[in-house]
């Protein structure tokens, strides 16, 4: 077999890493101390790929070789693909080369499992160490924790990286057993818990002494695959709520299942991944993190799945019409946040602007409120902007995004439809 060039290796390892959707680089404000690079508090995109996603980090695998055989994974042992591995020094060199050109915010390093989890973790740690110590790199580094690795290694990694993540991938124990038989739930949850503890503990210690090195200052995240197994949205959203609450998780990412393997254990969808469902889950997640919604307000046993045609905030408003319309000059911020068409920023702007005088309906539009949606739910100086009272039956139809059809498998037009969903909110999930 001819020896591969670095470019060829990079292609193969980028291929293996691209299905991981977490790409954010925000939330770390690591400063540049006499070397190169720093963290940006709000994320920076450096390019956008043909699928419309932001390129922020150099996203690669250390190796695509793996001793495990997870059903949904391109890199699984039983796939007949070419296996390559980078040395930790090569990973560092690539990262620095792209970083100096300002092509990336930093590194997102994942890997298959070579030999055993501990050995693999040591390679990841070494790559990170070379970057931090030899290249004096202060940019963003996100590294995957290998499930089942020694918890002391997890700690060493977290002292060097900005963010660490353990991918849960499957929302339940049963699905995990079926689709990722080599990885136990415990092997995934134990490092997550340890990371959560260390984040909290280190924050406390650093209040006393700044000499203590930070531990994963940008927090930990995880990823769930959507649609490879049978869990309902209620199960998924409740799981996410638990992760945010109990494990101090920073972000949960949702990844519409893309079949890359033929496997009898996997659902036999061909073609389009469930992108609309993924989008609705991001919206629900966003509502929980920034809008003060509880999981139980969005879904319950009777309606265990998110409405694909209606965003979850509008859905909640329609079920709670008795609290509307709200008078924008008086309503507390928590309630303003619950109005469809009012986002976090516009709610804050309303709260600020009304201190300077009573707001009119015209003012609302100027403050960034999407009146097309909000007009059914608010009054300003007692005036109501819509031609329809908010309890009218036609309201639901008006709030339905007509541009969002129900997904039909194998319809290429879905991609255009998915693009027509408010672009901004596709990235941020903001409503």
């Amino acid at each position: 077999m001819p020896k591969l060039t670095l470019a060829e290796k990079l292609e193969i390892l980028a291929d293996g890493a691209k299905y991981d959707v977490s790409c954010a680089s925000s939330g770390s404000s690591r400063r540049n101390k006499g070397g190169i690079g720093n963290g940006a508090q709000c994320g920076i995109c450096h390019s956008w790929t043909a699928d419309g996603r932001c390129v922020s980090l150099l996203k690669i695998l250390l190796t695509n070789a793996c001793i495990y055989d997870c059903a949904y994974c391109v890199n699984r042992r039983s796939n007949d693909t070419r296996r390559v591995i980078l040395t930790p020094a090569e990973v560092a060199e690539l990262t620095i080369g792209f970083y100096r050109r300002n092509a990336i915010e930093g590194l997102f390093l994942s890997t298959g499992v070579v030999k055993d989890p501990d050995h693999t973790m040591e390679l990841l740690i070494e790559a990170t160490r070379i970057l931090r110590e030899e290249h004096r790199f202060n940019g963003y580094i996100h590294v995957k924790v290998v499930p089942g690795a020694d918890l002391l290694l997890v700690e060493r990694l977290g002292r060097l990286a900005d963010r660490v993540s353990v991918n849960m991938e499957l929302p339940s124990r049963e699905s995990l057993k079926l689709l990722a038989p080599d990885k136990s739930r415990e092997a995934i949850v134990a490092p997550m818990k340890r990371v959560g503890e260390l984040i909290v503990q280190t924050k406390e210690e650093r209040k006393v002494s700044r000499k203590i090195p930070p531990f994963a200052p940008a927090g930990q995240s995880t990823q769930l695959i959507i649609g490879a197994s049978g869990e309902s949205d209620l199960q998924i959203v409740s799981l996410a709520a638990g992760l945010y609450g109990r494990l101090a998780m920073k972000r949960v990412y949702y990844s519409a299942f893309i079949p890359v393997n033929i496997d009898s254990r996997l659902p036999s969808v061909i073609g389009t991944p469930p992108l609309v469902r993924e989008h609705r889950l991001y919206q629900a997640d966003w509502l929980m993190r920034y809008y003060g919604f509880a999981a139980g307000e969005l879904l319950d046993e009777e309606r265990p799945n998110l409405d694909l045609t209606l965003d979850p905030k509008a859905g909640w408003a329609l079920r709670n019409l008795h609290i509307f319309p709200l008078e924008v000059n008086r309503a507390p911020l928590e309630l303003l946040l619950r109005v469809p068409g009012i986002g976090v920023r516009s709610a804050q702007r309303i709260a600020g602007a009304r201190r300077g005088g009573h707001l009119s309906l015209d003012d609302l539009a100027r403050l960034g409120v999407v009146m097309k949606r909000a007009r059914y739910f608010v009054t300003a100086r007692g005036r109501f902007a819509a031609d329809l009272a908010p309890d009218a039956a036609g309201l639901r139809a008006r709030l339905t995004e007509r541009t969002t059809p129900r997904p039909r498998w194998n319809q290429p037009s879905l991609f255009d439809a998915a693009a027509a969903i408010d672009i901004q909110s596709t990235i941020t999930g903001e409503l």
Binding site: G52, S56, I258, P273, A353, G357, F415, A419
Partner: protein, 247 residues
């Protein structure tokens, strides 16, 4: 009355200071001969005075909140013709109302300035990602760009902090302006710049350029292909200086 100034921030502040002193609102403040009003209005050319500018600047800093101050600064850097008079009214209102000004977000003198500032802020943030350096012979890192607004002074501090050990130049080719950073003194400075020859890249530059292009092409997930979304996020005009979109 039309005030003509040299286009600099200090020159603009000088003009505002003069107008305030005389207690009048000019019809326009501009850095070139206005096309329409020129017929009846008198045009006065303002000589930039650092002292005047500094004095007014201190007063603004003292009166306006940091947020309102930043809005003012960013909106000026939009370099949109006609922004000066909007900024003048914004400032008059701000200086007159003092502490209440922060809450007057819906005021007609605030909204247009805020919109300009937002557009500039967005573009400046965007270019933190889109500025792309090439490694030139002589160990200089050079980046070309063509932004809509005059964002060079707004983004320079970001790159100075991030690439503190590189000698770099960011070149606004639309305006023939550049900022250059000197790592020995940890300082950046603005300078006019026109290119007269092609740039001599290092061998490493060619190597990483190809590496990046091949990496980038692999990133998109075929099943999620969505060129429309890509175009919305990254309009063609922003692709001109990105190696991954080179033909």
């Amino acid at each position: 009355m039309i005030l003509r100034y040299d286009g600099t921030f200090a020159g603009f502040l000088t003009s505002v200071s003069l107008a305030r002193e005389r207690g009048l609102e000019p019809e326009a403040i501009a850095d070139r001969e206005p096309e329409q009003q020129g017929l009846f209005a008198t045009v006065e050319t303002v000589a930039t005075s650092r002292d005047r500018a500094d004095e007014l600047y201190r007063l603004i800093r003292h009166t306006l909140t940091p947020g309102a101050m930043q809005t003012f600064r960013y909106a000026f850097q939009s370099c949109e013709p006609g922004r000066e008079i909007l900024l003048f009214r914004y400032l008059q209102l701000g200086l007159a109302t003092g502490a209440q000004f922060g809450a007057m977000l819906a005021h007609e003198a605030v909204i247009p300035v805020w919109k300009l500032a937002r557009a500039v802020g967005r573009e400046a943030h965007r270019y933190k990602g889109l500025v792309r350096f090439q490694h030139l012979e002589g160990d200089i890192w050079y980046a070309a760009m063509e932004p809509d607004h005059c964002i060079l002074p707004l983004i320079a501090p970001h790159f100075a902090a991030r690439f503190a050990d590189q000698r770099w130049i960011i070149h606004d080719r639309r305006r023939g302006e550049a900022v250059a950073f000197d790592p020995r003194h940890q300082k950046w400075a603005a300078t006019p710049l026109e290119l007269t020859a092609t740039l001599p890249c290092t061998a490493g530059e060619e190597f990483f350029r190809e590496l990046w292009q091949r990496y980038f092409d692999r990133l998109a997930i075929a099943e999620r292909r969505n060129p429309k979304l890509q175009r919305q996020n990254l309009p063609l005009k922003h692709r001109r200086h990105l190696p991954e979109f080179e033909q």
